[in-house]
Symmetry: C2
Subunit: 480 residues, 2 copies
């Protein structure tokens, strides 16, 4: 990255965005004038002004960091976005495509022809290309693949072969390596032959003749130690080494725990394959938690805020459909007790409280268990302990909140039995919520599924239908 | 950090945990034997075995990274946790306290006397101490403060003066700086005087006589360039510089966008105050998203999974109380229509569907808007565009899903008017959800509040009560 490109905080970026929007607005005005005025001289003049605005925009974009151009593109409605995109220098297309979110990327790629796409892709490293590949048309990918040098072609093939959530998918190939039997002086001379070192080179990898990893030489050690010393005496002999099939999640935790900047990736036999750097890990953590947040909110994937209505409907329908089914089931549970409700209409007003509080309480337990599972804190022999504790919490909450609501029900409808049923139903539904709040994520994780996905819908479905059933059932038994 | 300390991935860590548990179990057995058997010879023998287990545990813990000891402590029930804690070397207490989650930290601190706490705190840097300070008893803090050298005392005072979510709170003071008019050779000689450089030193700061930041010298540049060159000709002149009062969130975004490892922090006048490193940012991002996830799940803070029932009840009650109030309001809305329900009991069974789907749809809109706000993608003049789009999505969803449910209601209860009311109510409640899904986070953010906190409860409250009111109101008007 050239140093002339300034890096900014969000506030300054928003100012940039406003400037871009202002320039776009002026340009639009000029365009509409060109269309309206007639004389050829007028037209020529307006065109000139138009050109000037365009040149200014171009200059502005050229001076911006790719990630900042990505921000501008994401913040603009689709027509303006494409105007800006057409003004970006084509040799920067690739790195910018890597930075934008997926739906925005799709909208940009849809606007490019095959030639442009091939050019953009060819400007990228193998590991970056692997990230972009799923979004590229088949023909483009083939063209790029054919044009690659053999080594990079192999790297691309390797990078694309790993699962999306494996360390291999986070790996890059920009490793600088030295032998262990040379002096630091030799290493220093070797490094000086580079124009620049790859980004995030905080350590150099030490390998033997067969490329087996022997250790790592942090730059901080290289610079503080006597140049006469031998690499082997200075290097870190047992660095964290990752395998390409390790879970990305575990690698991310290792980076966090040990405050790493980069880590080598080795084959089963210890051959150095590549490295993972902290910026990739940071992106991974962000994407992972973001998709978790989206999942909780009921969105399938990141949504372009300027997506057409139809795209948004598609992104959201599956979740709504699932909820419609669970709501329908709950509705049928109520339907089974219509006779009781007809006789005692207060039940209709009180039943959503029992179901709602059960859902909240179940989600509290669930959230805690899902977090502990992700951190590997729950051992098999502790499940019983956790059940016991959660049941204890449920009993306390049931008696306290159920008691309060029982008194309110008694006061509202002047019926002690109704109050007692309310308290009992609340307690039982909270117990159900506690059991399911522990059981659902633990079972999902035993089955090898991510307990964060879908368990919230499941528990709400159980506590809704269960809450209606328990409350209306008790009422039918004791009140009607 | 000594290189003899191995770093591990989660799987290996879990094995360690099992070993520790096994050792603890054996020790407990021995202890119970000591209590049961009588003869003094027996006792002596058992004590010896006990000692051996203890020594083995101690060795195991000494060889572990502080973050890994923290993991073990968090995964153990409270009694076993305190046994392990007592075996940890006291000079490591400080760094381990920094690594554990807050509730576990509290449980450990409660087990230490003042003398131990002061010793633990004194082993830390000023910025680390500032992180720990809120959890330490007043007297301990005073003791530590008095014992600090003047410079560190000032640093601690400064670090503690910043808001928790300001860059100042993430800053450390371990900066290595040089002048711009010296050669790289001189810099190299200067660095060789250090035993080791601070962690995450990817760049050296270039300052003038008055400590004003002039630029930064990345180590990667130091090692590839000719030693004869002058620092000023090699350094990065416009690095990302943060101010201590900047929002931590904005700094984190800058680290992500520009793939930084460290960034200087300067005063308003450009004096170098300290630096922020990527590991702190990674921790911050993790904590921030974690507290967001906890908030959505209805927990006030991270919960120690082995916390006593009472602690858990305290952590969860406030959220349940809020929900109880909103559920009560919804219940009263239903109560107002009891007459209609008595006449047409089908309404009781159908009404939760209208409310539930409204809540889901509202949360979808909300999730998208909150994300866009956090990324600074929403401009004031675009609010109308977003409203229009979300209303469009709501109309489509309302007609599709509302239509399906209308047909089902018609089929179940053999009443066309009931089906039409169902469809109309669904559409109206989805429109309400769309409006509130955009309005709530936008208004909260205008008021300077975090739109991610509490807006989900708010929208669910509106769509619940609103859904009941719309459906029962329409039914009362047209059906009863």
């Amino acid at each position: 990255m050239a140093e002339t490109i300034e890096r900014k905080e969000l506030e300054d970026l928003q100012e940039d965005l406003h400037e871009v929007q202002e320039l776009l607005r002026r340009q639009r005005i000029v365009e509409s004038l060109v269309h309206r005025t007639e004389g050829p001289r007028h037209e020529l003049e307006e065109r000139l002004v138009h050109r000037q605005h365009e040149a200014e925009l171009r200059r502005k974009l050229d001076a911006m960091h790719p990630a900042d151009v990505a921000y501008i593109l994401e913040s603009l409605p689709i027509e303006e976005r494409l105007v800006v995109w057409s003004l970006v220098k084509s040799d920067r297309d690739g790195e910018i495509l890597l930075e934008v979110s997926e739906p925005v990327r799709d909208s940009l790629i849809a606007d490019m022809d095959q030639h442009e796409l091939v050019a953009a892709a060819e400007a990228l490293d193998a590991d970056e290309l692997a990230d972009l590949a799923p979004d590229l048309p088949e023909e483009v990918l083939e063209d790029v693949f054919r044009a690659l040098p053999v080594e990079e072609r192999e790297q691309l093939r390797a990078a694309m072969s790993y699962a999306e959530d494996a360390v291999g998918a986070l790996m890059d190939f920009e490793v600088v390596s030295v032998r262990e039997d040379v002096t630091l002086e030799v290493v220093a001379r070797y490094l000086r032959r580079f124009d620049e070192l790859p980004d995030h080179t905080d350590q150099i990898f030490v390998v033997d003749r067969d490329e087996h990893l022997k250790g790592t030489l942090p730059l901080t050690k290289l610079v503080v130690n006597d140049p006469e010393r031998i690499v082997a005496t200075v290097m870190v002999e047992t660095p964290v080494a990752l395998y390409p099939d390790d879970k990305a999640q575990d690698a991310a935790q290792a980076f966090e725990r040990y405050d790493l900047v980069s880590a080598p990736v080795v084959s089963e036999r210890g051959r150095l394959l590549g490295r993972v750097t902290v910026n990739t890990v940071l992106d991974y953590v962000r994407e992972k938690t973001e998709s978790e947040l989206l999942g909780i909110g009921g969105l399938r994937e990141v949504e372009d805020i300027f997506a057409p209505v139809w795209e948004s409907v598609k992104n959201r329908w599956s979740w709504l459909a699932v909820n419609l089914v669970t709501a329908f089931v709950a509705s049928r549970v109520i339907g089974a007790f219509e006779g009781s409700i007809e006789k005692l209409v207060a039940l209709a007003a009180l039943m959503p409280i029992v179901a709602g509080i059960g859902g909240n309480s179940g989600n509290q337990t669930l959230t805690m268990i899902v977090r502990a599972l992700a951190l590997g804190q729950i051992q098999p022999d502790q499940a019983r302990k956790l059940f016991a504790k959660e049941l204890g919490v449920a009993v306390v909450n049931g008696l306290v909140w159920g008691g309060i609501l029982g008194i309110i029900a008694w006061w509202l409808y002047d019926s002690v039995p109704l109050g007692l049923v309310m308290t009992a139903a609340m307690t039982l539904n909270l117990l159900l919520a506690a059991v399911m709040g522990v059981a659902i994520p633990v079972v999902m994780s035993r089955l090898g599924r991510d307990p964060a996905v879908g368990s919230s819908v499941l528990i709400t479905a159980v506590t809704d239908s269960g809450g209606f059933f328990i409350f209306l059932g008790l009422a039918t038994l004791f009140l009607v």
